[in-house]
Symmetry: C2
Subunit: 330 residues, 2 copies
């Protein structure tokens, strides 16, 4: 059977352009014992993928090699199987890539419970939810009553961070790039305050929303929110550095804040990425499932249609054009 | 009996100037029960004292109030006593201040073993040694074989950090402001490499001295060493932020590095100050004493003479003019 896949054939300079990719038509192979055939239904688009396209051998996971199918996580259904652990009809999640079909031996795949919709899986239980939980809870070590600021709060990670923060008794202030996103954060997700970072009086608004200072800052963006929030950190504050999306599309990353405040306030600024913690995925998934089933994690999915929509669509993440977790439905 | 003391009467703007201080002549009071009279013999001058002069209510300890005797740590001898725990002839260490004599009830004072010279106490067992140990060992959590870069390596803290690093099996690279200091670090203290940070090819020299990258950076200075070393950090590297002396005498602190590398390398950048950890002083002192008695902690003292020499002398710390731990001998 013929199917389409998209290979990475060039590395990005500053932005992701269509010429980086080649759409190819492939033939599904004959399965050998232990293998099964996956039909992907939902393909996740995440900011980290830009890093995976870049030839940075020092990064936390190796880059996608040129000529390889582009890496991405997604949800797929088993449609043919010569593996007794994976039956036709089973749903799995894993790094399936930009492809309609894939052959697997099960390595690196996680079986999904049948009762959770695929969109909820990608929004809550997949990389964004795992990253949000690990960063906020294990790196940040929040205490009920503390004040959390999260940048990129309407993003796939940020929206989960804020909601987990609320579930854990924090005062949660988020920043986002449109008034519509801010209303969604306050009205639907229960943020105490959401601030449009493009406001002229951003510093004043952040100060007004954090009268007792800031104990935890969950960093997804860099930019002005970083500098303002850094200056409002309380003694022994923790800064969790998860993303710097403002600097992913530039060759002149903006300077960070001077470190004097790190001493004055005895801050801890800590970077982390989920791939260092794959062994914790089952345990964290259980925690996320519990929040979700208690109605504490809401989401919205921004759905694109068809494999090739990924090529242009991924840039929505860097322009802030997406409303909710970006995904391609196949 | 009459004695001299120096009060803080004005707060510094950018630099410490003589008009900030007033030299006063006081009379030793009659002791009441529980009190004793101290004659200070050695007065420590430390970079942190500039912060104590500044009215920053958000800092880690309250500022010195205007009209109060300037705060400093020092060593004194008990010369009169109405306290059964402190006998005439006992030596103590504590925050005695810029004064020749002081009355105490013992609070906050630490008794000193008689066999250790006063200079060694101030250089090894006092704040610089405690700070060096706490920062490197507890915050940095070094593993034998790792590479440590320490800035301000010829300073009172930096020289202890590097030597503790060597005692713990690290490769130790230090930066300092003169070739003479660099020779001292390599020839006397056993640093693997010391680099003059004023060199034209600083980045190249740091790279050559750290072929396997940098696992631990102990920050005492800020400035160019910070940016270069930050860019050479290995995955899971730890940065201990103890001092930013390059920025203490300016109202335009220079920007820090962009935080992208904090994610890429999953770095931890952590600020600390010893006053958060006073309860650990006895335990850390024991460790320092053990290193010292094993001959692993060498020092040199830069001695000024007479109480009033502190007023101009403290600036040597900010010009880099001191050679070794700065102190006033009374």
């Amino acid at each position: 059977m013929q199917y389409k896949a998209i290979k990475l054939v060039k590395r990005p300079k500053l932005t992701i352009t269509p010429d980086l990719f080649e759409v190819v038509t492939l033939e599904t192979p004959e399965l050998v014992d232990g293998q099964f055939l996956l039909k992907q239904t939902h393909m996740s688009l995440d900011p980290a993928m830009k890093g995976w396209m870049t030839d940075d051998r020092n990064s936390y996971i190796p880059p996608v090699e040129l000529g390889e199918v582009m890496r991405s996580s997604g949800i797929a259904e088993v449609v043919e199987s010569k593996n007794s652990n994976f039956a036709v009809g089973d749903r799995v999640m894993g790094l399936i890539g930009w492809t309609e079909y894939a052959v697997s031996d099960g390595q690196g795949l996680q079986k999904l419970p049948p009762q959770i919709p695929a969109e909820a899986v990608l929004c809550v239980l997949a990389l964004p939810g795992l990253t949000a939980y690990k960063g906020l809870m294990d790196v940040g070590k929040p205490k009920a009553g503390e004040t959390l600021v999260v940048s990129g709060a309407a993003g796939s990670v940020g929206s989960m961070v804020g909601q987990i923060g609320k579930a854990e008794g924090l005062t949660v202030v988020g920043t986002a790039g449109t008034d519509e996103k801010c209303r969604w954060l306050e009205d639907e997700l229960g943020f105490d305050k959401a601030i449009n970072y493009k406001s002229d009086d951003l510093a004043k608004q952040i100060a007004a929303a954090t009268p007792d200072g800031v104990d935890l800052y969950f960093e997804n963006t860099g930019g002005p929110v970083q500098h303002i929030t850094f200056g409002r950190m309380n003694a022994h504050g923790r800064i969790i550095v998860c993303g710097m999306i403002a600097d992913y599309n530039t060759d002149k990353p903006s300077p960070g804040p001077n470190w004097l405040n790190i001493i004055r306030k005895r801050l801890t600024v800590q970077g982390f990425t989920m791939p260092d913690h794959w062994d914790e995925v089952p345990a964290i998934s259980q925690k996320l499932l519990a929040y979700f089933q208690a109605g504490k994690l809401k989401y919205r999915a921004h759905k694109l249609g068809g494999l090739e929509s990924a090529i242009e669509g991924i840039n929505l993440l860097f322009t802030g054009g997406n409303k909710g977790k970006l995904m391609v439905v196949l």
